[in-house]
Amino acid sequence: MARLQIRNLEKVYANSFKAVHGISLDVDDGEFMVLVGPSGCAKSTTLRMIAGLETITGGEIRIGDRIVNNLAPGQRGVSMVFQNYALYPHMKVRSNLAFGLKLKRRPKPEIEDATKAVANTLEIDPLLDRLPKQLSGGQAQRVAVGRALIKKPDVFLFDEPLSNLDAKLRASMRVRITDLHKRLKREGQSSTVVYVTHDQTEAMTMGDRICVMKDGCIMQVADPVTLYNRPENAFVAGFIGSPEMNLMEGTLAVNGGIRVRLADQVLTFGEDVGGRLDVTGGEVLLGVRPQHLRIAASDEENALEGHVSHVEFMGHEVYLYVDIADIRLVVVVPSEQYHPEDIRDDRIRLIPRKTAVHIFDRETGRNVSLSANA
């Protein structure tokens, strides 16, 4: 049973590169927290500081009610699963699993029971007498998870554990890990997880909450639905969701109506946007997800007019790439609503779903359209 608390954590590497800029994060007991962000945003650095593999330059890490800053990795009550498995190459799977318990000088029968139980859970019993080099990637990763599981740690740490697996295996391992987490939770075992990935599908499907990072700072921490619907800034908005949210440079003016000028066109919005705005104008980014744009009927007003540069047929959906002056938009329409004959001379008119439109300050990237619930 342990919650993980991170306070103003900083990391400056030996070459005086500041990788982590004072982040604070609380992971509740039993929570599955995903750290996600582009490459180099210091996800691994943060995780390794929690594990104790990297020294802490500033701030504080607490696991349960202990400050662990100066504890050795083995004393922090954490276990870690590495991207490339990091199984001990000279030991059989059995010894790999048991290594941690052996170091703790647990009695032999206890170790054997624990090994069996873990092997059962992860379906690796037939592999117990193999060496790591005799395992497939998926099997090796299961053993690595087993090695973490057997210690019954307070906090599980995963550093991109699935990125060396092929897509299919990744999907099944994803389910396996979330199932495992639910099961530990149900059985009342400690099951706090910090899971690092750069794959937003993994983040969205696995995390109770997601912590989006960029350049050593936290951009937003929230559950997947909130993150998707109410991104606090343009970075999160662009990072979460696929294809990416369209972010269009424009100018906002609030006088009477809400008007956003984009290139040579003007969109007006009513109270469904105005009600949640907390600024009265300025240079902005208008954010609309590709799924929230629809093709306008010919008699509809207040649409964006553009020209279709190409079309990708994905099966159940169609991706339209639309140019509005020098702004490139992606539009996703369900296949059954896409009728090529409607588009004459590649001209297309698009209407954004008003309730799903976001407006970001262009300077700071802050979402200025979140103030009241729309």
């Binding site: 593999l53 276990s79 590495f82």
Partner: protein, 301 residues
């Protein structure tokens, strides 16, 4: 009809002929190649073959007969040689060699692994300078340090003991081995060691349970090299050992040359053959690991 047949078969015949010709050429060229290789190989091997042959000759025959097959083979050289002209038999000398080699090799393996681990995995103040020192000792010709070393060990009162032969190696004095292990370690990813630390291993446990097993092929090479070099070392024992009862084989061989007026070459040769045996045996037993160790640059399994 007949004409037609000839016409049709000519190309086939021709191709068969060229095929046969090709095969003959191939046979000739490989015959030449093997003859050449065998010749050169024999040339290189000849001294060794002659040594073994001559060790079964009588002393007079060695100089009379240039061939390597003894006309009347005798074990006399071995029997007399083993007894030596000193109160000790060669058994003593072999035992001394063993006494020098064993602690030295073990000391080398332990100290070099520890030092290499330190250099390869840890950041500490002065690391660069210390590493430069290590490389400098590697570049320094051995002879240069002989006299200062001798003076040092004399002042410590270690002359005529095995200590001057053991101690430097037990403190990772063989920079080459340290360097080799560092290079080897650099090619091994750190993840396993980090996993071990998360599993609760301290630095020493990580070294013993994780690093050393992964280093095993390189360590075996280190031990083998140290074994063979110590076996063949002549200068070290010559400088530091003065009483005959402490002589290793390498010195004892020279002893037989010193003490007899007319050199009993057959005895010397016989003992030389025996002196070769341990190194060869160890080499062949460990050949698999040895080759593995040399060829393990960075590829990990």
């Amino acid at each position: 009809m007949a004409e037609q047949i000839t016409v049709r078969t000519t190309p086939e015949l021709e191709s068969a002929r060229t095929l046969a010709e090709g095969r003959r050429m191939h046979a000739i060229s490989s015959a030449v190649r093997y003859a050449l290789l065998a010749g050169v190989g024999f040339l290189m091997l000849y001294p060794l073959v002659w040594l073994i042959g001559a060790s079964f000759k009588t002393n007079t025959e060695i100089f009379a007969n240039p061939g390597f097959i003894p006309s009347e083979p005798t074990l006399n050289g071995y029997i007399q040689g083993w007894k030596t002209s000193t109160p000790y038999t060669f058994a003593t000398f072999f035992w001394n060699t063993f006494l020098i080699i064993l602690p030295k090799t073990i000391g080398t393996a332990i100290s070099c692994a520890a030092v290499a681990y330190g250099f390869a995995r840890f950041e500490f103040p002065g690391k660069r300078i210390l590493f430069a020192t290590l490389i400098a000792t590697l570049l320094l010709p051995n002879v240069v340090t002989r006299i200062p070393q001798y003076l040092l060990f004399r002042d410590l009162g270690w002359l005529d003991t095995f200590l001057p032969l053991w101690v430097p190696s037990a403190f990772a004095g063989d920079a080459f081995f340290v360097f080799m292990l560092i290079q080897f370690l650099r090619a091994i990813p750190r993840d396993m060691e980090e996993a071990a630390r998360v599993d609760g291993a301290n630095t020493l446990q990580t070294l013993i349970y994780i690093v050393v097993p992964m280093l095993a092929p390189a360590l075996i090479s280190v031990c083998l090299f140290q074994f063979m070099w110590t076996m063949n070392d002549f200068l070290g024992p010559l400088i530091y050992l003065s009483s005959v009862d402490k002589y290793p084989v390498s010195l004892a061989l020279k002893l037989s040359i010193d003490t007899t007026e007319a050199f009993q070459w057959n005895r010397i040769l016989a003992m030389s053959v025996l002196a070769l045996v341990p190194a060869l045996t160890v080499f062949f037993l460990a050949q698999k690991y040895f080759i593995e160790g040399i060829s393990t640059g960075g590829v990990k399994g």
